[in-house]
Amino acid sequence: MADRKYEFSWSLLGDLELGRPNLGPHTRLEVYRLMQFTFRDVIEQELGAEKTDQLFYKAGELAGREFYSQYLSETGDFHTFVRELQRSLQEMGIGILRVEEADPEAGTFILTVSEDLDCSGLPELGYEICTYDEGFIAGLLESFTGGSFAVKEVDCWCTGDRTCRFTAEAVGS
């Protein structure tokens, strides 16, 4: 697509020290969720729920890849990658990552994220909501392994659980 207006680069996040000398780089979680869920609402009205989920997954993937490039590209082995990822997600208030199962060679993982940025504390809706996080995790794993991943949230606050659980499987060869 030629002449894109909104192509992402990390520099678009700007100089926060320069831009917010008084308020600093932090804001309330409600502000983040306000933006995300209003986006969902409007996009769903325009394109339908399924397309909305696909777009959020894709955006999450992009975010995951960019996050990896920015903070995790120096990690070598899987143990270091997990440790650094846990630290980064916690420091940035994204969530508390834990590994239930991991088989890097087979490309299968089961991860949980507690106090998740998107959904922790949300009311029960009867379906999983963290499609953006699914893509985010896929983007991280793809960046680390070089392969493609399909990530699915199987437990969520919105399904009545108290931690988000994701399965990840390598796809293709």
Partner: protein, 327 residues
């Protein structure tokens, strides 16, 4: 339904649920309630809960939680945390001592303390193993070396000499032994002191090490006496090497305060390994030593500061004291 019937039905249902929770084997729902979907669902939830908790209590974390809601979510969080701890434990077992449990209260504290202790213990064991290895190496060195000169000691020389003698005999290879002795060493000690004497011994050993080949075996045999075993070498070549060494030592001074101490060395050389003999290796080594010693004595007798080759006695030799010498 009358109030009494309602009371009775409610009581029956409540007791049924209590039994489902408390009894080892839960009772079946009476057929009267087959059409009550909410009751069937509640009963299924209790069954699922029983299965999950029973499995978890026996360490099986794979049992799914077959219902949803607050209670299910809490149980699944517990399950997820325990699975994560299991994974972390595997990582620790594989040597990753950076694992730390978080936000799990007392369990986190205990797990983390255990990992830290394991890490420290392993590091301490590694450090001790290293020290032990170094100590063993030093001990090995003490057992085989002369502490002053760093050359082999007499005992170890004999061990090595026997191996070389065996090899020379098996493959019919030449083998020479050189014995040398510092001339007038007692006077050096008497004049300059024993510390200066030690320095002279160190110098002689150092010059010898530098002049000889790496596979030559040199040792301090006695106070001021040294031996060198030269594999693959006949007496003529060994005598040439000895002469070179003699000259080097003669030219090397040892500074002692304002004085420079100079010494000379006398040599005896032999390669007369008695191949027809059936003597033990140790005895053969002693025979070589005796021969070299005899030649050394001849050097001393002829004026010192020289190399003499051992001459085996001839049956009809008229002068038993005649020996060849290199001046």
């Amino acid at each position: 339904m009358s109030p009494e019937e309602l009371q009775r039905a409610t009581d029956e249902l409540a007791r049924l649920m209590l039994d489902a929770i408390t009894l080892p084997k839960p009772p079946a729902i009476p057929a009267d309630y087959d059409s009550v979907d909410s009751l069937q669902e509640l009963y299924a939830v209790i069954q699922s809960l029983r299965q999950f908790l029973s499995a978890a209590a026996n360490g099986d974390l794979s049992q799914p939680v077959g219902f949803r809601g607050y209670l299910a979510g809490t149980l699944k969080t517990l399950q997820a945390n325990l699975r994560h701890i299991s994974w972390q434990t595997k990582m620790v077992a594989s040597g990753d001592f950076t694992q730390r449990a978080q936000f799990m209260g007392e369990f986190s504290q205990s797990f983390n303390a255990m990992v830290v202790q394991l890490d420290e213990t392993l590091k301490e064991l590694t450090r001790r193993e290293h020290e032990l290895r170094e100590a063993n190496e030093a001990l090995g060195l003490l057992a085989t070396s002369d502490p002053l000169t760093g050359l082999y000691n007499r005992r170890h020389f004999f061990e090595l000499a026997q191996a070389e003698i065996e090899r020379a005999l098996r493959y019919s290879r030449p083998l020479s032994l050189v014995m040398f002795d510092i001339d007038f060493f007692k006077e050096v000690n008497d004049t300059y002191g024993h510390t200066a004497g030690d320095t002279v011994l160190e110098m002689v050993a150092r010059v010898a090490q530098g002049a000889l080949r790496t596979n030559d075996i040199s040792a301090r045999y006695g106070g001021e006496e040294f031996v060198v075993l030269l594999p693959e070498t006949n007496a003529t070549v060994a005598a040439t090497a000895a002469e070179k060494l003699r000259s080097l030592i003669e030219k090397t001074g040892v500074q002692n305060g304002e004085h420079e101490i100079r010494v000379t060395v006398s040599f005896g050389v032999t390669d007369h390994l008695q191949r027809s003999s059936t003597a033990l290796l140790e005895k053969r080594a002693l025979q070589l030593i005796d021969q070299a010693d005899e030649a050394l004595y001849a050097s001393k007798h002829a004026g010192r500061n020289r190399v003499t080759m051992f001459q085996p006695p001839e049956p009809e030799r008229k002068d038993p004291n005649a020996t060849a010498s290199l001046d």
